[in-house]
Amino acid sequence: MATLSRSAVEDLLYAEALILDERRYDAWLAMLTADAIYWIPSNGPGRDPTREIAIVYDDFERLSDRVRRLESGLAHAQSPPSQTRRLIGNVTVAEAQDNAMSIGSNFLLYHLRRGRERIFAGRYEHRLRCVEGVWKIAAKKVVLVNNDEVIDNLTFIV
């Protein structure tokens, strides 16, 4: 049965965190499967996206558009860009099947833009899938602690 050890899972999450902190968005897209979903629920834990508005509910196509826009030089809410550093911990393997795993982790994300510092915290839920021998992200759900509060700008990739 092909699964990853927890330390291999952690390596994958750390690699993703570094890529996002460095805003290498094409490298991030390359970590995703073609049917990937990037989901940031609004107003709570995120139960049913067909009945709830989300802060983000992107399929791969929409995510590609998001990245194109972020890199266009015309995404004004990212001009100047968000500078971030994130710490990931409390990694748990929720489910491990052949070639598919569900991973939970906590994150603390430091954010700086125009001299204003903010801290975001929450839980990542990654669905990983092994595609032709490479482990990829098939779904990423970001449950922000403050997703029912006023958020000024969340236009970076969380």
Binding site: S42, V150, V158
Partner: protein, 440 residues
């Protein structure tokens, strides 16, 4: 500290406004008093308090209040302040409660705000009259097609008269449902910015900014959909901006989509064809072909209702002033009653693409509000120019002023009303306020 007399009348002219309406705390305080505490204010949708006991916290400017449905099914708007010693009596943003209890000393109120629980009543004298301690209630509460407005002053026009010509567009928005009703129970986007509340009200009906602020979104989405979205917002656009009176205004998208078949085709990209066609048929069945076409033409309305409501796309947008340089904005998407679920899912996903704190459009608008507030610190350039299209305005028989989509008709409409309220006839006795010298 230097103090000076400033005539509010001199801050707003027909085609320009002074930077001080955005930068003076004293002007903000007067706006709260004269606009948000004296006139109709949008609070929410009645489906947010669908059942008896449902409540939602709301605000009149900086004053906290509760919108709730009482046991008789009436919507009550109660100020969130215990009549004993002042604590707020409602803590959750939303919920369901038979009573509101102040946990400081246990005073308890029912859904009509009456004091029904007074712990250890023996300590109060025989003449203590509980009825004098009901929660403060909004003087007027009214519901127009599900939109709940309230006023802290009884001295206001009836709501339908106040809404005036905006009612026609609100009707179209609600009639997109084959039951003539929408629900606002799918959550809320909440964002804020370090700028004045009026920037958001100006921007929601600004046809001039779209091709600049949203260029990247339009180009990338346009490529994906094979549509040239930017043509809608350029100089040759057939669309219009309109002043509906009472400070209400509109970007009128009606000429764009006029036949049910056309809209059916637009839906086709988002929902299976048979679902789109069945939806259009349900509208035709209820309204007839002509009215159905009219309703569908308005499916992308940008409507501003003075002072704090924007209806854009599928959303009810509530603009909440916090201080002269801080604003919160709540975007509540609506779903249509009586349609296939797939249509409402498509509405939610379409809304997310552009709106909310991580959307592809709205955050770029918000960025401009932050930049405006920062730029207005510059002295010497005192005015913001709102004259675009002044010389090509037309006035219809119904009194509606119209000009090109990119013209600043809606912004002039807003400030016409602002000046009437802030320093007009009704308040002529108090047009001057003493302002501390700026920067001191």
């Amino acid at each position: 500290m230097m103090a000076e007399k400033l005539d509010l009348n001199t801050l707003v002219e027909d085609h320009r406004v002074h930077r001080r309406i955005y930068t003076e705390p004293q002007v903000f305080a007067l706006e709260m008093e004269r606009i948000f505490e004296s006139g109709w204010v949008f609070l929410g949708h009645d489906s947010e308090v669908a059942a008896a006991g449902d409540f939602k916290q709301v605000r009149f400017g900086s004053q906290p209040a509760i919108m709730t449905r009482d046991e008789d099914g009436a919507i009550q708007v109660l100020m969130n302040r215990c009549m004993h010693r002042g604590a707020t009596i409602c803590q959750e943003e939303r919920g369901n409660a038979r009573h509101f209890r102040c946990w400081y000393h246990g005073w308890t109120y029912n859904g009509r705000g009456e004091l029904v629980g007074l712990p250890y009543p023996g300590g109060y004298g025989k003449n203590f009259d509980r009825s004098r301690f009901s929660l403060i209630r909004a003087a007027k509460v009214a519901n127009y097609r599900g939109l709940v407005f309230a006023s802290l002053s009884a001295d206001v026009e009836e709501l339908p008269d106040y809404l005036g010509k905006a009612r026609y567009y609100i009707d179209l928005f609600m009639d997109l449902s084959p039951q003539g009703a929408v629900e606002a129970r799918a959550g809320t986007h909440k964002y804020g910015y370090d700028g004045n509340w009026k920037f958001q009200m100006e921007n929601g009906v600004d046809g001039y900014h779209a091709n600049f602020v949203h260029q990247a979104f339009f180009e990338i989405q346009g490529k994906r959909l094979g549509r040239r979205v930017m043509k809608l917002f350029n100089e040759t656009s057939p669309l219009e901006s309109k002043d509906l009176g009472h400070g209400h205004s509109l970007l009128d998208t009606a000429p764009r989509r006029s036949s049910p078949r056309l809209v059916s085709n637009i839906l086709r990209g988002q929902v299976p064809a048979e679902i789109g066609d069945a939806y259009v048929q349900s509208l035709v069945a209820r309204n007839g072909e002509a009215r159905a076409a009219e309703i569908l033409a308005a499916s992308n309305v940008n409507l501003a209702v003075f002072p704090n409501l924007l209806i854009i796309g599928i959303q009810l947008r509530n603009v909440i002033p916090i201080s002269f340089n801080r604003t919160e904005v709540f975007l509540t998407p609506t779903t249509l009653c009586g349609v296939h679920e797939a249509i409402n899912v498509a509405r939610l996903r379409a809304h997310e693409a552009f709106y909310g704190p991580a959307g592809g459009g709205a955050p770029d608008d918000v960025e401009m509000f932050n930049r405006c507030q920062a730029g207005l610190a510059v002295k010497g350039a005192e005015w913001l120019e709102l004259s675009r299209g002044l010389e090509r305005e037309t006035v219809g028989e119904d009194g509606v002023i119209a000009a090109h989509l990119t013209d600043e008709v809606p912004q002039r409409a807003f400030y016409k009303r602002w000046r009437e309220i802030m320093c007009g006839v009704a308040t002529a006795a108090r047009p001057s306020v003493t302002l501390a010298a700026a920067g001191s």
